[in-house]
């Protein structure tokens, strides 16, 4: 198939339009297990941090954004996957250091979508938060025979790992935006020195996070 193939062109245009519609309408789960206040905050936060384009197509980006936000949901004063730019991190990683996992993600996301359509007649991004959590729990427990390769647990564990990396790695890798992940847990980054007073303190460490050394 060449780039001049009209059939493929039409398909691509439709896919983009379709994804756009999904992403625009309902990236945010309608129902969540958190308090309504948290879910609301989560909805408002979906504005500018879903950067991608190094690897993911828009469908897959929307799914990964939704999935990782359930793993580490944001709330007021508690930045989550979206706020810290986890999607951006994973997108860049798959275009570089984790290029050998590209097909792992493609297959995993396709299997996830197939599972959701089979069980709920909707793709993952359109499910409400409770349903999304149900699906994620099934993957974590390995209760998803729809998954062959990667297995459900391999897929869950990998996305979980990459979510934590995106939350807490040095911002140079595309996540942990403005040190939001480090601020969440109280990690000051790569401080070049701690004094005896710092070492013996029973208080929270107060110097601002720094990158590198």
């Amino acid at each position: 198939m060449t780039e001049h193939d009209p059939g493929r062109r039409t398909f691509l245009v439709r896919a983009i339009v379709g994804t756009g519609a999904i992403a625009g309408a309902e990236l945010v789960p309608a129902q969540t297990t958190e308090s309504p206040k948290e879910a609301n905050a989560s909805a408002q936060s979906h504005s500018g941090e879903d950067r991608h384009g190094a690897f993911f197509n828009r469908d897959d980006a929307a799914t990964v954004a939704a999935f990782t936000e359930r793993l580490m949901p944001g709330a007021p004063g508690k930045p989550g996957a979206h706020d810290t730019g986890v999607l951006h991190y994973i997108d860049l990683a798959l275009a570089g250091a984790y290029a050998d996992l590209q097909d792992f993600y493609r297959h995993g996301l396709a299997q996830l979508d197939a599972l959701c359509r089979k069980r709920y007649n909707e793709p993952f991004v359109r499910l409400n938060a409770a349903r999304q959590d149900e699906v994620i729990r099934a993957l974590e427990q390995g209760e998803a025979t729809e998954f062959t390769w990667p297995t459900a647990q391999e897929f869950f564990n990998t996305i979980r790992t990459h979510t934590m990396e995106g939350m807490f790695a040095d911002p140079i890798y595309g996540g942990n935006k403005d040190f939001a992940g480090w601020r969440l847990v109280g990690f000051p980054g790569a401080q070049p020195i701690f004094t005896r007073t710092d070492l013996e303190s029973k208080q929270a460490f107060s110097r601002a996070p720094v990158t590198g050394l």
Partner: protein, 573 residues
Amino acid sequence: MATEKTDVVIVGMGAVGGILAAELGKAGMKVIGLERGPRLSTADFSGQDELRYFQRQDLRPNAKRQPVTWRASANAAAKPLPILNYGNQAGGGTVHYGAVSWRFHEDDFRVRSQTIQRYGSSAIPKDSSLIDWPLTYADLEPFYDRAEYELGVSGKAGNLEGRKIEGGNIFEAPRRREYPLPPLLADQSGLIFEEGAHKLGHHPFSTPRAILSQSYHGRPSCTYCGFCQAFGCHVGAKSSILVTKLPEADATGNFKLLTGTMCFRVNSDNSGRVTGVSYYGPDGSTNTIEAELVILATFIYDNTRLLLVSKTRKFPNGLANSSGQLGKHLMAHITPRVFATFEDRFVNIYMGPNAQKHSLDDFNADNFDHSGLKFIRGGQISVSPADLEGGPIGAAMSMNPPPGIPRWGAAYRDFLAKYFARYAAVIAQTENLPYADQTIDLDPTVRDQWGLPAPRLTYDWRRPNELARIEFLTGKLEQLAAAMGATRYWRSPMGAGAPGAHHEGGTRMGDNPKTSVVNRYGQSWDIPNLFIIGSSTFPTMSGFNPTLTIQALAYMSADAIVNRYKKNPGRLV
């Protein structure tokens, strides 16, 4: 294809190779060192980064390109291990290690006879291949002393020539003098560990580490940045081989280091001697070095693998393997953990040298009475971050949340947010016995980036003696967590039997050529101009980290080669 001649070729430039290169070079021997990875410098470690060095293992072998496979039993299929805990650059594992530097106990060198003497031979599991070392602590003491002083180790003596000293490790073997440097500062986790251990009547102390507490030999002291285990030191305060022995080796003028080279065969002729090695260059070329003396100083997998792939008609089961012991008696530290969280204080465990910060030795070796217990030997207990590394990725990956909290979702986020700076892990590093059916051989299907068969481990620590030891020590960890004032503490799951850190065995040393691969100097019984040095020669493993003992053995072998073998190249024993 290049061929060159030299006196000595050393394969692997880590804890052993660097010491041998410097000492043999000083004695006027021409040395070529082969190193699979690059040669880095302190300047390379200016950007500390948990993702790169801890999570992506940048200073360790790439687990996909250089696979090592593992199976729990000979009936199971072997799969590549996800993480490899050894080095992949000049300086080897000493570049990224936590630098914990112990001398083994006196009874660590005579585990079999000690056990029989105290508990009777029935205390030894029937399937264990437990033996004594062919040397004693006293034989090695001068070389421990030399390693501590030449490299730079910080600590406090607990046993000066038999005199017990509170504040040091009173269970340590007698030493001739104090450590060259005072102990490193304790952080908050060390202070509460010390307090809790005292309440229980134990004997806590600052872990001895090859990290400078004061400037030493032109290198600056530690800045307590916390990036040790998994990282290179950004000021050169960690006494890695990279900043200690390699510059010494360079200064001899007799040392040449070839980086990016992969040794794939030890060459031999029919005279019963080795003639040198063959290696792949960084450009893929095949090259040969002819040498009078060949020293294998790689991590244990490669020491064994190189001998297995270098088999000849005379040695059909692997070079230097007339004993049939090659690849057997694989051991590893298994490390039960208890996580503890605190409501009344921050712990900030990411500060300060990150591995085994503060220790106690009351339940290690034969330091306690095992009568009535269903196991022998013990473990070294310490306080640490989740995976000996203090950043949040390490905590998220290695600390299971307490019962009732899932590994993801709002509750998990809140758990990490509240307790990342308020947790400590209490861990036991346990000594596990040798068993002949715990082995390293060649994987029949998996190959590495050079096309060599991957080392395959067959190993499962879940044996009655080991399970009982771990249960006993985990109980001690829980008592400690409570005594430290933790409001909540819980166990980490123990996993599926895979080997942990610090692997030992494969080219066992002994005093009988029929039952061991090498003698006390690491010299092959079969081939006198072939030495194999490192933890692959350990007959038993101790609950202590192996590196200082590896380094002491390297100094002892260097001494024997320079002062005896060089004049009369034959069997040293």
